[in-house]
Amino acid sequence: MAAFLAPVAIYLGGATFWAGTFAGSGLAGLDPVAAGTLLWRFPLLLGFAGALWDGGCVVDPRPCRPHFIAPRTLVMAEAMLGLTTPVKLAFAALGLSFTAGLGWGRPALLPLGMSFTLIMVLWIACLERVIHALAPAGILRQRAFLGVILGLGGSLAALSSLGGAETPGWVTAAERLWALPGICLVRFWQTGDWQLLAAPLVATLVLLALTGACVRRELAFDRRPGTALDGGRIWAFRRPWAGLARLQFHQLLASRAGQMRLLMLLLSVFLVKEPELITVGTVQMPRAWPALAAGLTFGAVLVVPLCNLLGFDRGGVQTWWTAPLAARDLLFGKVVGCASYAALAAPVLLALLGKAQAWSLQRSGEAGLQVHPSARPMAPGEALALTLLLGALFLWWAGSGLARSLRAPWPMTLGNYGVKAEFDEEKVARVAILLAPLAWMVPAYGAALLLDWKAAAAAMAALALVAAARFRRRLAAATVELAQRREDLSLGLVSRG
């Protein structure tokens, strides 16, 4: 996570510096409702992401238990160390660059920037603990619900606007009430009226009290027990690979990595809210479209590693070696489980894409603008070609991933099912596997589209067939290899910890 956030923070640093300069010069003219809502929603989302990723207290009380360490000491340690997780460190870096920009524009605003960063980091740290305590690890539905209620409250307005309807008044009122601490904080910065600090102060105190209770409870082992996958439901399946697929699908859904990727899909709803036109070269096009395209690509890149990097259950690896389960069923089931997870995300992305394209065409037509080719609504033929391309990519990745995951096995954990957070040598190798087919398949798709959608569809169908044949060969080879490498796999999983 740190390796992922660090480069992002560097690039975003420049942007936040610029935003700070802009805010410094135009603070008086900022819309307090819009800016305050954004200000409040931002830590909520980061807190939600942190709750999914970091998974509760940083301090592990278990090793301390036999040594009679006072609960107060543990809470103090947590209060200090809890601020050093990747999400908060990255945000603190961004906050400081924003502050620097603010000071660059108007040096008198430096204390304001520092207070902004401090309050936001505090809110993120508190929300992270509270959300984590409310939603025990592994319960996707509760977390998704919390995500909608907390961070994504504004998406109700976005969804209603996408549907063409006016945003209901109660949605707007609820959103403003919910974002009151942020709105009041912005108004305070603008006016200097100390009474406006009451709402953020109360919100901070409430959050601190809740956080203290949650941390004390977690460090005192008074935790709510977890729940088995899929609520402990008994799965009926006829073929062994189908059972494996179901297990893999639910493991991905329950993992933090899987939940983070679904959260990113929900976040993409924001990208289509209140779109504006931007100019690229001589062509104007909706801001939403490139943002959504970037989100789509980003989402795909993050979803696909799950399909590519098949992990193995370290805890139960011997179940696979002793149960009547053929090696082919084991591997095929894992691939099908990954494909099911990807298929769950695809309709959401496609629905957003369709809406954005329809809006793009309408807006461009009204304004008499030239429509960028990439913003045209996708014809059914083109959609078919794109689907075939994605299928080909998935099969290619799955084939490569099978071989890789057998030669360098990674244990699956509740945090990351087969996807390690650290950017080590192995991860680089896997990213290379991921990028290799993208490097030639996507240009091939683009080149074929320039000719004709039929040509593109035919080319992608051929590509998909080639990828399917390759996957079949790789599956057969991996089946043989798995039978030969059971011992290495077991030892590899154990030694990699």
Binding site: A228, G315, G316, V317, P324, L414, E487
Partner: protein, 244 residues
């Protein structure tokens, strides 16, 4: 049922097991005894196909376990010492999952799981297995090994971490298993339990066999298994600490 000739397993430069010639007839209850690190678990893993032999041959129920044929896996129930359970699943869910892999119907599984729960005095519930106590995990692994009615059972340290009440239930269950003619290979440090159950004893030390034979034949006059163990393996050091 089990036959090995010159079986050996090497990890790096050290041999965990060497030159093992074993013949276990159908219906035998073989207790594999030895100190920690003697090679007991390695033997079970070799016999169940989890490890590949460095030298020698193994045949279990007429199959080479190294290839892990499905026919053999259907006949065999295995309770490994660790790493046996899918810890994100609930206990009942796991047993149904494993039972389905063996092709058992839901009704049959439900009935058998209830019987196992009653026998082992446990309620597996829907808590994830990772939240189970050590003893609960052992009971679940034992249940999974017997669920499909195997003809050959491998048990690696089945009594470890269990309370005396459950040990008593387990002993009774294993006696039933033995009396039904099911072949059992069990490793254990609990010599009194091994003595009560075993029809055959294999004592290994540093990867080599010290004793292999019928339980009644290997013991000396007025000697129990503990006496045999201590006589052949050694009584250990005084175990005194200078600062206590």
């Amino acid at each position: 049922m089990i036959a090995t000739v010159g079986l050996g397993k090497r990890f790096g430069v050290s041999w965990a097991l060497r030159d093992l010639n074993l013949s276990v007839p159908p219906g035998a209850f073989l207790a594999v005894l030895g100190r920690n690190g003697a090679g007991k678990t390695t033997l079970v893993r070799l016999l169940t196909g989890q490890l590949q032999a460095t030298e020698g041959t193994v045949h279990v129920a007429g199959f080479d376990p190294a290839g892990a044929p499905l026919e053999l896996r259907r006949l065999v129930g295995v309770m490994p010492e660790e790493g046996a359970l899918l810890e994100d699943l609930g206990g009942v869910q796991y047993l149904h999952f494993v039972g389905r892999l063996h092709g058992l119907d839901r009704d049959v599984l439900t009935k058998r799981i209830k019987e196992l729960e009653a026998c082992l005095e446990v309620n597996f519930g829907i808590l994830p297995i990772r939240d189970y106590s050590y003893g609960m995990k052992k009971k679940l692994a034992f249940s999974a090994a017997l669920l499909h009615g195997p003809r050959l059972v491998f048990l690696d340290e089945p009594f470890e971490g269990l309370d005396p009440s459950v040990v008593r239930s387990l002993l009774a269950t294993l006696e039933q298993v033995r009396d039904q003619g099911i072949t059992v290979v069990m490793t254990s440090h609990q010599l009194s339990f091994a003595e009560r159950l075993a029809t055959r004893v294999l004592l290994v030390e540093q990867g080599r066999v010290l004793v292999d034979g019928a339980a009644g034949e290997v013991l000396g006059p007025d000697e129990d298994l503990e006496g045999l163990f201590l006589r052949l393996v050694g009584r250990g050091r005084a175990g005194r600490l200078s600062w206590i």
